[in-house]
């Protein structure tokens, strides 16, 4: 958490951090827009996987649930299509961009990023399952839940993962470590 204080200690450090983060997103965006989107394989794989896992989850409760490519059906009348925009890829990259920009060790990043991605994919599977149930039982609510509440859930999960990373990723400092002055005079914070 001391890293956050340092980032916010001046406009310069905050701007530097935000520029670093936006640059990480820009690299991803260009990579995605120029190669991954036209290629289509990563979107297709993720959409099919999310559809398959959503079908698997609903299959526990509904014998009639089945998956057909990117579409998950709860009955022959009610289904949802997992389009590229619904597979959660942009949320995954949003999550990773911050982890890359925020101070932390690469060894911990290598462990935390896959776990965070799994958590986000699980959130998306739950979101798709709930959306499918809503489209089946309360179709009039589908648009508002799809456009508003579902986004809310994604942002909350990403935010919580970032908080977790700020606690986990920052290497703890031994007592008396000089750290820009402030922490050096307050060694008790090394336990934070």
């Amino acid at each position: 958490m001391d890293a956050a204080r340092q980032i916010l200690s001046s406009n310069r450090t905050l701007t530097f951090f935000l520029v670093k983060m936006v640059a990480a997103y820009a690299v991803w965006f260009v990579l995605y827009d120029l190669w991954l989107l036209p290629d289509g394989r990563i979107d297709a794989w993720l959409s099919h996987s999310v559809a398959s896992w959503t079908g698997g989850l609903l299959g526990v409760f509904y014998e009639t649930a089945f998956v057909d490519g990117r579409t998950v059906w709860i009955t022959r009348e009610s289904g949802i299509l997992i389009e590229n925009g619904c597979n959660g890829l942009s949320a995954l990259s949003l999550f990773v961009g911050f982890i890359v920009a925020y101070p932390g060790t690469w060894a911990r990043r290598a462990l935390f990023i896959p776990l965070g991605l799994l958590a986000l994919v699980a959130t998306n599977v739950a979101r798709c399952a709930i959306l499918l149930l809503i489209s089946h039982y309360a179709p009039s609510l589908f648009d508002s839940v799809h456009g508003f509440h579902a986004l809310f859930v994604f942002y909350v999960v990403i935010f919580l993962l970032w908080v977790a990373w700020a606690h986990y990723g920052e290497p703890s400092k031994p007592s008396g470590t000089k750290d820009g002055g402030v922490a050096a005079t307050q060694p008790a914070l090394a336990t934070a």
Binding site: A3, R5, L14, V22, G97, F98, L151, V156, W162, A188
Partner: protein, 187 residues
């Protein structure tokens, strides 16, 4: 001035409670004020600007106000029957403003951080209008830059800055508690 100070003191005595009250008030004002304003901006500011762009490139597109999304403007390939292949402009200060702003109000009820965030979204919104208009009329890549600004720049910064403020506040809190504990121990 005196009234403001007394109000601040009252809030300072129960910051969590007041923070939640303010966050709920923001939610109510979002539904009653900000959302309608977003729709007005989309219909009476953004749409006329986009529809007024007339260049050889803009002839490839239809600028449409979607019936079910009053806060958005769609650009479709000219003559398209469905909205597949649409490019979407959405008014600023949507969910990605509301969620962090509520959080900021709940965590820092006496600080105007949420107003700064609103200002940031307003400025970004003006930027996206310019980029979208450029995309319709002149520069194809402006649609990509607009998409980047609308997603990563808007979402990333909106979620990150409140997080940093929260973490810094937490670090200060821990520092204060540790200092108090140290004083108590040495006494």
């Amino acid at each position: 001035m005196r009234a403001t100070r007394s109000l601040r003191q009252r809030i300072g005595r129960r910051p969590r409670l007041w923070g939640l009250v303010f966050a709920l008030l923001l939610l109510v004002s979002y539904v009653l004020v900000i959302r309608p304003v977003r729709e007005v901006v989309a219909q009476y500011v953004a749409y006329p600007i986009f529809a007024a762009v007339e260049t050889p490139r803009s002839a490839q597109f239809d600028v449409v106000q979607p019936a079910r999304r009053a806060e958005a403007v769609f650009v479709l390939p000219a003559g398209a029957e469905t909205d597949d292949g649409r490019v979407v402009w959405a008014a600023p200060a949507g969910v990605i403003f509301l969620l962090p702003a509520m959080f900021l109000l709940a965590a820092f009820p006496t600080r105007p951080y949420w107003i700064y965030l609103l200002g940031y979204h307003a400025v970004l919104g003006i930027g996206t209008i310019v980029l979208f208009a450029l995309g319709i009329g002149w520069i194809p890549a402006a649609f990509d830059v607009h998409q980047f600004a609308r997603t990563y720049v808007s979402e990333g910064v909106s979620l990150t800055v409140p997080l940093l403020l929260f973490l810094a506040g937490k670090a200060d809190e821990i520092r204060r508690e540790d200092a108090e504990a140290e004083v108590a121990t040495s006494a």
